[in-house]
């Protein structure tokens, strides 16, 4: 009698267990997929290097443009673009584009020169400074408002700061005489630490180009 009463219970348990196992097996791919999605979508800081561009225009409707590009991806995408002067990640230019200036020779001179200021122009309406400092090529341009009156001081109208690592400049001109190697420059840039490359501040526009390890811009 006791054997008879135990048998349906064990059968019932076995049936329940098999249904639970079947359900678990069926939903395992869904659960695994959900886990993988939550893992990949969580991180905002990666080991990759990201190039960020931010343009804020206060001119008319507060236009804002934000672009975030992983350098690794840019390195792989650029050689695939073959349009006009861009081929295999290199841009061709000729002497007429540079108004007869031999850019390569000019940059060779800058590269081999010691740290210091190469160009300094100070005038009433603008200041220009081109220098090489601690492995960076620096360009500062300040445009000024002319003050009215006899003793009036001029105020800053716009300011452009460019700070490019010399290794990136070297890589950029590492291709042929009349070519800029963008891919090599990106590769050199990705080996570099967090840095602000370009900053433009004017009355109606702010432009910032920088490099870091975050996939989000501030």
């Amino acid at each position: 009698m006791s054997q008879l009463s135990h048998r349906p219970i064990s059968q019932h348990l076995a049936r329940r267990a098999s249904v639970a196992l079947a359900a678990a097996l069926l939903f395992a791919p869904v659960a695994l997929y959900a886990q993988s999605v939550s893992i990949t979508s969580d991180s905002s800081k990666t080991s990759d290097r990201w190039l960020h561009v931010r343009v804020v225009s206060t001119e008319s409707k507060n236009e804002t443009v934000r672009v975030n590009v992983p350098l690794d991806m840019a390195e792989k995408v650029l050689p695939a673009i073959n349009k006009d002067r861009l081929h295999n990640g290199k841009v061709r230019f000729n002497d007429t584009d540079m108004n007869g200036v031999d850019l390569k020779t000019l940059l060779d001179a800058v590269r081999t020169a010691k740290d210091g200021e190469f160009v300094t122009v100070q005038s009433n309406d603008s200041d220009v400074r081109v220098a090489k400092q601690n492995g960076y090529m620096l360009v500062h341009v300040t445009e000024k408002h002319l003050g009215s009156g006899k003793d009036a001081k001029s105020t800053e109208k716009s300011r452009v700061d460019v700070k490019i690592p010399m290794k990136v400049v070297d890589a950029l001109f590492s291709a042929g005489k009349d070519e800029l190697d963008l891919v090599a420059a990106l590769r050199a840039l990705s080996a570099h630490g967090d840095t602000e490359l370009v900053s433009v501040k004017s009355e109606d526009n702010t432009v910032r180009i920088w490099l870091d390890s975050k996939n989000i811009s501030d």
Binding site: Y33, S41, S43, D48, N62, V65, R66, V67, D72, N215
Partner: protein, 145 residues
């Protein structure tokens, strides 16, 4: 009774397995809302796995007439979609101009494009693997790509 239960379990399992297989690559979501009077409202979800499958039934001659511009973009599309899968959720492009807003981002394993302005709202989300599959298939079927 037990046979009926077994049949129900088998049927449910088949439906669930078929569902998991169909939706394994997620869904393509398209939402278009035009704000003008009589404007169209299009909302549809398509299993992403169905697109490459459906492309097998499109006659090859239609792919040969693909515009040159599209052919030029295919290698780019293949690289971008395979590369984007490596990165976490990111907003790649975000343009805000008054009441116009354009955003291109990756969310999970999908690329999401949102365009919001006074005239219309457009939201498109496509799994990256689907875009990659379609680009590969187009490249394989279109000569010279």
């Amino acid at each position: 009774m037990i046979i009926l239960a077994k049949c129900a379990l088998a049927l449910t399992s088949t439906v669930v397995v078929a569902g998991v297989y169909t939706f394994r690559e997620g869904v393509i979501k398209v939402d278009v809302d035009e704000h003008r009077d009589g404007g169209s409202h299009v909302h549809f979800w398509v299993p992403a796995a169905a697109v490459p499958m459906a492309m097998h039934f499109v006659p090859k001659r239609h792919f040969r007439d693909m515009p040159a511009e599209a052919s030029e973009c295919l290698p780019l599309l293949r690289i971008v979609t395979s590369e984007l899968r490596r990165y976490p959720d990111t907003t790649f492009v975000d343009v805000l101009d008054g009441r116009d807003h354009v955003r291109v981002a990756t969310v999970g394993s999908k690329i999401q494009i949102d365009v919001v302005n006074d005239e219309e709202n457009v939201h498109v989300a496509v799994p990256l693997s689907t875009v990659n599959d379609v680009a590969n298939q187009l490249a394989a079927d279109a000569p010279g790509v």
